[in-house]
Amino acid sequence: MRFVKLIAAKLFPISRRDLFVTAGILLCTIMVCSVVRRAGGIQGFAQPVFVLAVLLISRFTTGYLYGLISVVLSVVCVNLIFTYPYWAFNLTIAGYPLTFFVLLTVSIITCSLTAQAKEQARLLAENEREKMRANLLRSVSHDIRTPLTSIVGSTSAILENPGLSEREKRELLENTREEAQWLIRVVENLLSITRIGDEQARITKEPEAAEEVLGEAVRKFRRRFPDISVSISIPDDLLLVPMDPILIEQVLANLLENAAVHGKTTTAIHVSLQAEDGFACFSVRDNGQGLPGKNTAGLFDAAAQPRAHADGDGKRNMGLGLSVCRAIVRAHGGTIDAKNLSRGAEVYFRLPVCKEEL
């Protein structure tokens, strides 16, 4: 019984949108035919127009239900309104079963083709996601392996070589800590990804004070990079932005860290927040070396990162961090982009301020 229901729900799904589409197309068709009839159209012109209508409805609705409904309605319309005698239902007109049959065939074939196309698109998207996931895993494994090697190496060196000087030991331990902190970043980014979730990226948004999130991200950054000076500018009025604050803090943390680590020569960072017609614009600007290459489009793809970079196997890969940033910003319905300045680089993202309708 449940199985039957399930099949029925799959073949005949009911949706308000589809109902509107069906009604809209049918009304348009009736209107067009009425106009043509008034203008003195010839007998039988209505049928091909309704074939087109049925075709369109079957194409743009889901399942078979609306296609079939439109077939029945079309037949009634053609018969009742557009075939002599007008406004009378006459089943004896020659060709009437033929009209019905043609419309039915058109509808069923179109519906099944549409369903097939949709299924194919879904498979393709799934494939794409699978590929992305694999790329991500590869990128992450790589990011993890290098620091782990250094941690295991440094600690073994200390344990197995009692003759090391205090200074050497200290250096090794400092490296270990540095690498462990890098690993923490990687893990935090991965956690962020799990928070976004992989299906349609549903996140819980609440209006948050953007300046608080910004301030916290900078405060944590300063603790980690005390040598880099950070200035902040925010608007005078409080900006409440619907967001998942933990995720946006992660975005800012990633951008700040990138500015410090990948800017290489960065000594100062400027973070700003601005309100711009319906959007909150966050920007992180540094005075470092700037972004590699001219193409900023690939920057946010973990997979598109140049792996075989000049300096070895690129442990400090910013691909993961930036692709996480983009995923988070997109899940908020925002956009993110980057550009080179005359000195240094700027990464900026915009989040919609006005609430989306529910």
Binding site: L191, E211, E212, G215, E216, V218, I232, D236, L238, I246
Partner: protein, 235 residues
């Protein structure tokens, strides 16, 4: 000889318990360790520690359960240490009576700072000494005057509205401790105030504009994103 504060470290991971204990004893605390919830509860009654560092993921019971049982009869300070990083978990633990919440991984300086704060708060029952004695709370250039209901920055009255002052006063009473949004709202507007944090956000933004030099770089009023607010603690 000075009596050293005794800290119970409840943590089932040996390596983590060891490093916490090492850091604490190096900084002048006496430590005892428990590896499970049952052990922790019995040690709390037998050792009477001054503070408990509590891991939430224990083999025999949830750390929150220990916290709830403990809060049934004691206000012994508890600093929760956990790998659960969702802000929901933090809020739950804080609302269940934890004095502080540290997410793994954490730095040793952070741990020590939280431990010091939590211990100081027990010595002075509710709020802190200064408020009880002088009716004011001072941190840096900020003075909260509980008698006159005003806040001063560099000696100047910053003219907070009543609800703004009440927020600052509440944070001052628990200075150094994170107060969850829910807690603040309930304290200020009663238990039936709506669940929306928006009014609190707006008030806080106004307070910061009056007290802080740059509201985005607070020196006094810190945000724990997704959890609550905390007022800086004077040393």
């Amino acid at each position: 000889m000075q009596i050293r504060e005794k800290i119970l470290v409840v943590e089932d991971e040996k390596s983590i318990a060891q490093f916490i204990a090492a850091v604490l004893s190096e900084n002048g605390y006496e430590t005892v360790q428990a590896r499970s919830g049952a052990e922790a509860l019995s040690m709390i009654s037998s050792h009477c520690p001054d503070l408990v560092i509590l891991d939430l993921g224990l083999p025999d019971m949830d750390g929150l359960e220990i916290l709830r049982q403990l809060r049934g009869w004691s206000s012994l300070p508890v600093v929760v240490v956990s790998a659960r990083s969702h802000e929901r978990d933090k809020v739950t633990a804080l609302d269940a009576g934890a004095d502080d919440y540290l997410t793994k991984p954490f730095g040793t300086n952070e741990l020590l700072a939280r431990v010091r704060t939590a211990i100081r708060h027990t010595r002075t029952a509710s709020g802190n000494d200064e408020i009880a004695q002088k009716g004011t709370y001072t941190v840096g250039e900020l003075v909260i005057d509980y008698n006159k209901h005003q806040a001063l920055v560099r000696g100047e009255n910053v003219k907070l509205t009543l609800s703004e002052f009440r927020i600052v006063a509440l944070l001052g009473k628990y200075a150094g401790k994170v107060l969850t949004y829910d807690f603040i709202i309930k304290e200020l507007w009663g238990p039936r105030a709506g669940g929306s944090n928006q009014i609190l956000r707006v008030n806080m933004a106004n307070i910061r504009r009056k007290i802080e030099k740059n509201p985005a770089e607070p020196e006094y009023l810190f945000t724990e994103v997704g959890v609550g607010y905390r007022l800086a603690e004077g040393e």
